[in-house]
Point group: C2
Chain length 153, copies 2
């Protein structure tokens, strides 16, 4: 059990491609020391950080926000509950907001499908502004959140 890891080891253990790890390092999300031969060596703690990055990505949190959260964590020492609590609070709010947006949209879809309304023309999702336009834009109720995620598969 080595206590320093090569990029390949981190990659296979975390499921993140070496190219992505290098990219995360460029972006300041993780760090590495270099061997005399200029190869990266990672502390085991980097696995935790990479796991957090993956969690954040899965939640649609932009890398920049993840980076901002990670810099508040100790780079070497195991994070304390306090560290972790601070970090996750912000993300929770984010996730809550995104869930709320999706649920609102889902409800609207359901209403539009299930409604016994005489005319589909009365549906607010399908008819943002069509008849009753009075300047401004339709579909205000759809808050676009700043989510982003990539399917690397």
């Amino acid at each position: 059990m080595p206590n320093e890891l090569t990029i390949g080891e981190v990659a296979s253990r975390s499921g993140v491609a070496p190219s992505a790890l290098r990219f995360y390092e460029e972006e300041g999300l993780i760090v590495s020391r270099r061997t005399t031969g200029n190869q990266r060596r990672y502390e085991r703690a980097v696995l935790r950080r990479v796991a957090l990055i993956q969690a954040g990505r899965a939640a649609g949190i932009p890398l920049e926000r993840i980076r901002a959260a990670l810099v508040t964590l100790p780079a070497h020492r195991t994070p304390t509950r306090r560290d972790w609590e601070r970090l996750s609070r912000g993300w929770r709010e984010d996730i809550d907001r995104r869930i709320a947006t999706l649920e609102a949209l889902r409800n609207r879809l359901t209403t539009c499908i299930g409604c016994g309304c005489l005319s589909i023309d009365a549906c607010e999702l399908l008819n943002p502004d069509d008849e009753a336009a009075e300047g401004g834009s339709g579909a205000h109720y759809l808050q676009r959140d700043s989510q982003r995620a990539h399917s690397p598969e």
Copy 2:
């Protein structure tokens, strides 16, 4: 009340930039006829389609999927409940899956914050593979969905 709309009218009524409307047309999500002077004129029905595009975008559904859904809708006639039902069923599943993923992550965050566990090292979110790596990748439980959305503000 004109029954054909210029691109500027569609833009201001829908809240979508003219450049985006042209882009949607290129991508086959909407159509327009041209005046003798080569300017676009839109049927009012395009407003409904644009509203759907916005709804899909807000849900993180990729444009290509939205396009696929839209081609099943009548281009000119008002969609019937059947049309609409068919389209929205697929999206609902998508939204449900995305909500489930987010909720799973949120629960994990909450557990990790709230747990009275002796060591944060025991947390599965923070320790995907760290001690107990047996090949493969960590954080399997985080299904990355193919969401995408942009904040145009």
